[in-house]
């Protein structure tokens, strides 16, 4: 593990029941960088995030966060170390209003954004505080899902397809926010299928195929590797 890596994954295997989904996944997320996992549907990107977060029951290998081995920890303990997860389906709770959704994740470390700072990033949320969480538009739900984990003080954010199904203008807004979070020192691991979006925010891209990590492309080299990327993603 290199000195700068906040997250280091090695030989990660994961199973859903009998189905072997991840096969020895290896990669690193350097501190302060935005790293994406690219790949087609079903190659194991979301499972990789969930395995890091302790949400896959059977997992083996090594996941080190800031030097601490977390492979065997339950997900609440992993979150308490400073890892926050924003799921693909956003995970906004229907039985909670927007404000309750926002305050749901407890502060795990000092240094998180205040509620006011979250409103500054996502002004729409402030006007909808009393609304039922799932009554928000898709874009607003995504903002809520990201906003609530920024309060926790977590240093590593795992974002699973934050742009999926959103209008281009909202995608652009989320891109700005990810860049701003990076500038403020957050480390972000991003699962994306939209590599054009990924190329605007990320420092490096890992490519997955069939539960394996098959390539790493620094963002600076993305343009020169477009053909290869298209092939990986089946574009």
């Amino acid at each position: 593990m290199s000195e700068a890596a906040l997250l280091s994954v090695a030989g990660l295997n994961a199973w859903y029941g009998e189905s072997h989904v991840l096969h020895g996944v290896e990669f690193e997320v350097p501190r302060g960088e935005v790293v994406t996992l690219l790949g087609r549907n079903g190659v194991g990107k979301t499972t990789t995030l969930k395995a890091i977060m302790g949400m896959v029951a059977r997992r083996e290998g090594s996941i080190r966060f800031d030097g601490t081995q977390i492979i065997a920890l339950p997900s609440d303990r992993i979150a308490r170390l400073g890892v926050a997860f924003c799921p693909e389906e956003r995970g906004v709770f229907a039985s909670l209003n927007v404000y309750e959704n926002l305050l749901l994740p407890p502060e795990v470390r000092p240094g998180g954004l205040t509620v006011e700072q979250v409103f500054e990033l996502f002004p729409n949320l402030k006007e909808r505080l009393a609304s039922q969480g799932t009554k928000l538009s898709g874009g607003e739900q995504q903002m809520l899902a990201i906003g609530r984990i920024l309060r926790t003080g977590a240093r590593l954010l795992l974002l699973d397809e934050p742009t999926e199904g959103l209008a281009p203008v909202i995608v652009q807004q989320i891109g700005h926010i990810i860049s701003r979070l990076k500038a403020e020192g957050f480390t972000i691991l991003l699962v994306e299928q939209n590599f054009r979006f990924a190329s605007r925010v990320a420092d490096r891209h890992y490519v997955m195929e069939s539960g394996r990590m098959v390539d790493m492309i620094p963002n600076a080299e993305l343009e020169s590797n477009l053909e290869k990327v298209h092939e990986y993603l089946g574009v």
Partner: protein
């Protein structure tokens, strides 16, 4: 004085009995709703745990000389603790299975508990004195209101509303509601969901035991006191909507009153009216009056 040809004393007397029964229906169905909401388990042991609350009060008095007021605090804690052990050792293994397995396990536990107590204590009622402070009653003009019964209604309403408040209006309650929807994600936010589940089961059981202590001076203590009641309470839960907190409270009290009124106007149907309502509700709104389809 008469209303609809019924003497007011008789009418209000039955309404009071209805309200007392409703207090127990509400407390017990509330416990069931809290447990079902988070654990997805239909706790058939609830009636036995209600009975254990009453027995605990009886033991505290006969063996340790501890009276009603302390029993009201100690019995729910003790029975709730037993509930937490049951949850950790047994129920926790069933969460990934269909609801039916939890129901079968808790039904079996209820049969075991209700089978063990009669060996020692028979099946006849064992008297348990009401606290001195609440003996007697007051004449309201249109009816006589025994103090203890007034206390039971008041305590039940306060307990139900306090539980509703905690679940609907506090941070802890938002954890519970969120974990009911998506426990894995709530845990991934840093909340120890397994511990929360254990404590929630303990709390639901403690509510049953609390009801048991309050019932002891009215219905006396009896190993089978929960067995019949729990069938009615399940009907209340079905009518209110499985897992609905406000549904269980409102439906509990309302059905107690309806049962009381039926005793006045058509006594032959008083034992079945709740089940008739249940059948109608199931046909029209299967998720219950306050419930949502899960």
């Amino acid at each position: 004085m008469e209303i609809f040809g019924i003497p007011t004393q008789a009418l209000f007397g039955q309404l009071l009995i209805g309200l007392i029964n409703g207090s127990f229906y509400a407390l017990l169905s509330l416990g069931l709703a809290v447990i079902f909401g988070l654990l997805n388990i239909i706790n058939f042991t609830h009636g036995a745990q209600y009975m254990m609350g009453a027995f605990c009060a009886y033991f505290l008095f006969t063996r340790l000389g501890i009276g009603y007021w302390w029993a009201l605090a100690i019995a729910p804690l003790a029975v709730g603790l037993v509930g937490m052990v049951i949850e950790r050792l047994m129920l926790a293994r069933l969460y990934k299975l269909d609801h039916l397995y939890g129901l079968l396990l808790t039904f079996g536990l209820a049969l075991i508990i209700q089978g063990l107590f009669p060996n020692e204590y028979g099946t006849s009622e064992i008297p348990y004195a009401m606290p001195q402070e609440l003996s007697g009653g007051r004449n309201l003009g249109f009816m006589f209101l025994p103090n203890y019964r007034a206390w039971v209604i008041l305590a039940s309403i306060v307990m139900c509303l306090a539980t509703w408040f905690v679940i609907e209006k506090t941070r802890l309650g938002s954890y519970l509601r969120a974990a009911t929807e998506n426990p894995a994600l709530v845990q991934a936010f840093g909340i120890n969901v397994p511990r929360m589940i254990t404590l929630t089961y303990g709390f639901g059981v403690a509510l049953a035991a609390f009801a048991g202590v309050m019932a002891a001076p009215i219905y006396q203590v009896n190993p089978l006191m929960g067995a019949d009641l729990i069938i009615v309470v399940f009907a209340v839960v079905v009518i209110g909507g499985m897992g609905s907190i406000m549904g269980s409270i409102v439906t509990g009290f309302a059905l107690g009153l309806i049962e009381g009124l039926t005793k006045v106007f058509y006594p032959e149907a008083s034992n079945t009216v709740i089940f008739i309502i249940m059948a109608i509700v199931l046909m029209i709104k299967p998720a219950g009056l306050f419930g949502t389809q899960r």
